[in-house]
Amino acid sequence: MRKIAVLTVVAMALAMVLSPLAFSARKTIIKIGINAPLTGDIPKVGEGTKYAAQMWLEDIEKAGGLEVGGQKYEVELVIEDNESKAESAVKANTKMITQDDVLAIIGPQSSKQAVPAGEVANKYKTVMISPWSTNPNTTLDRPYVFRGCFLDPFQGPVVANFITDEFGFTKAAVLYDVASDYPKGLAEVFKQAWEEKHGAGSVVAYESFTTKDTDFSSQLTKIVKSGAQVLFTPQYYNEVPLIVSQAKNLGWDGPIVGSDSWGSAETVELCGEACYGLFFSSHYAAAGAKGATKAFIDRYENTYGYIPDDVAALTWDALRLAQQAIQDAGKLTGRIEKDREAVRDALAQIKDFDGITGKMTFTEEGDPIKCAVIVKINNQGEYEFYGSSCP
């Protein structure tokens, strides 16, 4: 009896010692990290990110895995919540890179998380594509960080030009959230672009509020009084309806123009008819889309019950970019550091990538050169293509 016990123990010990020699390394799985704000201030953005990622994974699974260099690999998504907080985004990135061994990271979406998280990704030499962050600092001096959208310094002048050409106005007002990274940055760029065109002081009212404010009456009263002809407000979908309806109630009758942050389907759902006829700049226009874009929109709508936001579309593009880069890398060695480097090099090489939000080629900094779209909210509440502006 005792002999048997001793023997088993010895056998087990031997097996343990010898096994790494006997069995080869663990199976290589391609892991893609998703760093999304599932909770916190903008859960809708997180939801869109997650859904787009799941759709992408479905495609890969249907194909039986991702084919790289003639070999099919299983793909796994690692979805981490960044709670809409910077330090949480950093933690999530560190965890995914060092613990889960992801090959590439998609996200975070907002610049306030993407900027610090990009630092981590760059430090660990892992490709990170932020689909939605428009702050220049996200990719600045970071060879491993890319983005899927255009930058504020491009979007601001596009809007300014559009208003000038379309309406011929010379006096504009701006209303933005001073405490939020994106609106503040864009408001500054727009002001600069507008004043370059129409001279100093042509932005007659430059008003701000703070995140989570719901009452803009005093700022809007000021704007109405200032005699501005157009109101530019680069705000999110939850604020736009309030701004539009309050402006109307306070006697504003000029047009209100927005930016890509309006691009959520919820903007018009929450705003209703008050928003019909307004313009904003965006990455893509859902209504009247064709080809792959339409296919994506229809599929998303069928699965999740609503038209995808630009976040979802951009995330989709970012994932496909990552996929392309992995495939272009040619071959996976199973040594994660090497593979990550190969993916980065492949990604930087991609030319004229045909995304659903437009063609993309990366600059040195990892920013795509792509066109902005001017969208009109038509009388059915759909986002209609109105014009586009390319760099």
């Binding site: 790494p20 599932l38 933690k91 889960d100 630092e119 600092n137 503040k184």
Partner: protein, 426 residues
């Protein structure tokens, strides 16, 4: 209960040194065999971080594997080695007891740091979690000075933290980095690690000066009114930073040099605990308690209550500023939104969960909330149901927090634990 009692009794003979040895063994096992053998045979993809909590919640299939891993790597080696090594560690502890207390404490701490470094070094994610937890400990201990020892309900800690974070970041950016806003580095970056303590102290001092805005009104009012004053202070700091464009405003400020590796943060945390411990056990520090419990009596017993209040606020704010500075250099990015209501709720949760008027409590609070927050990550939204529920239960059953009104007794903690004279039957 019987089993627990027996268990406790069985291990009552293990000195701190014995536990260290046990944990050290476990870490060694993990370090050498964790990846290649143990986790491999248990079917785990990698060494589980945070004792497998993440993996268990994400993939229930892995639960037996992760539990077995914990058992094999941590529980069994720690207990076995701790118990079996008693015959060496107890004399060892007795030997150390003969040394001056501070020397013995330093030796223990060095051992502890060595183990921590080894454990965290297995994975960078662990390092980050440990770093942020240590920063939280500084924050929690320092707010305990104001909210626990001094008994105010101060809500301005995120504001103090912001002051420290911004001042120290500005200094490091000016001094040691080539930044687009602040120009080229004034000093060679190699000096950074040596001058970093001074930078942090400057941040702490800024926070301490800022705290006067709350401390001076506290001479005349307290309780809820002071809570509002401190809350207003927090919003003022946040709004001021948002309006200062040269430090990035709402866009935040990044690119701080990485001057806060684990040992630096560990030393600052120790320093913070040591200084605050000295302070709150001295008469000058006990004065805080007298002001809390009965201000009129304190005055009549010669306590300078104004000075005491001011000291409490400035001292607490100073350490919050230090924590802010470290925080900024861990993340290498800060923005004003980080120092707002959310942070406040987190800090308050840590200090009230851990226990008022107790440094041990604060450490326990900071560690538990941080580890819980990380470990429950896979639950996504449900995390924010479970953590509040835990806090509510703690508040109901232990209204002053888990460990309150208890001070560290270094001597007792480190002493040798000889078997009691009456033979304890196993």
């Amino acid at each position: 209960m019987g089993i627990l009692q027996k268990f406790k009794q069985m291990f009552s003979t293990v000195p701190m040194l014995g536990w260290f040895l046990g944990i050290f063994t476990a870490v060694l096992i993990e370090y050498f065999w964790g990846y290649d053998y143990i986790s491999y045979y248990l079917g785990l993809p990698k060494i589980p971080v945070l004792f497998g909590a993440l993996i268990m919640l994400k993939e229930p299939v892995m639960i037996p594997g992760a539990l077995a891993y914990d058992l094999v790597v941590y529980v069994i080696p720690v207990l076995a080695v701790a118990k079996l090594s008693c015959f060496i560690t107890n004399p060892g502890a007795a030997l150390l007891e003969k040394l001056p207390l501070w020397l013995s404490a330093v030796i223990h701490l060095v051992c502890f740091y060595g183990i921590l470094h080894l454990w965290a070094g297995i994975n960078d994610y662990r390092v980050l979690v440990v770093k942020l937890t240590l920063v939280s400990i500084i924050l929690t201990v320092s707010i305990n000075v104001i909210n626990g020892y001094q008994g105010e309900f101060s809500c301005s800690h995120p504001g103090f933290m912001a002051l420290g974070a911004y001042v120290s970041s500005i200094l490091t950016l000016i001094l040691f980095t080539n930044d687009k806003i602040f120009g080229t580095a004034l000093l060679p970056p190699a000096l950074g690690p040596y001058l970093f303590p001074l930078v942090l102290v400057a941040g702490g001092a800024a926070a301490a000066i800022g705290s006067l805005a709350v401390a001076i009104p506290s001479f005349r009012t307290r309780g809820d009114y002071l809570a509002i004053i401190s809350l207003a202070f927090m919003f003022i700091v946040k709004s001021a930073v948002e309006n200062l464009n040269f430090i990035g405003g709402a866009r935040g400020m990044g690119g701080q040099p990485d001057l806060a590796p684990l040992p630096v943060i560990f030393i600052w945390t120790l320093l913070c605990i040591w200084v605050i411990h000295n302070f709150v056990t001295s008469i000058l520090g006990k004065a805080l308690n007298t002001v809390r419990d009965d201000e009129a009596a304190a005055e009549s017993m010669t306590v300078k209550t104004r000075k005491t209040k001011m000291t409490a606020f400035m001292f607490g704010a100073f350490w919050a500023g230090i924590a802010g500075g470290l925080f900024a250099h861990v993340l290498t990015y800060i923005n004003p939104g980080m120092f707002s209501i959310n942070r406040l709720a987190e800090i308050l949760a840590m200090v009230y969960f851990g226990g008022l008027n107790s440094i041990v409590g604060s450490i326990v609070g900071a560690v538990s909330i941080n580890v819980l927050g990380e470990a429950l990550r896979p639950l996504e939204l449900f995390k924010w149901i479970i953590i509040p529920l835990i806090l509510i239960f703690v508040m109901i059953f232990r209204p002053y927090g888990l460990i309150s009104f208890t001070e560290i007794n270094t001597k007792k903690l480190l002493q040798a634990k000889h078997k009691r004279q009456q033979g304890v039957s196993p």
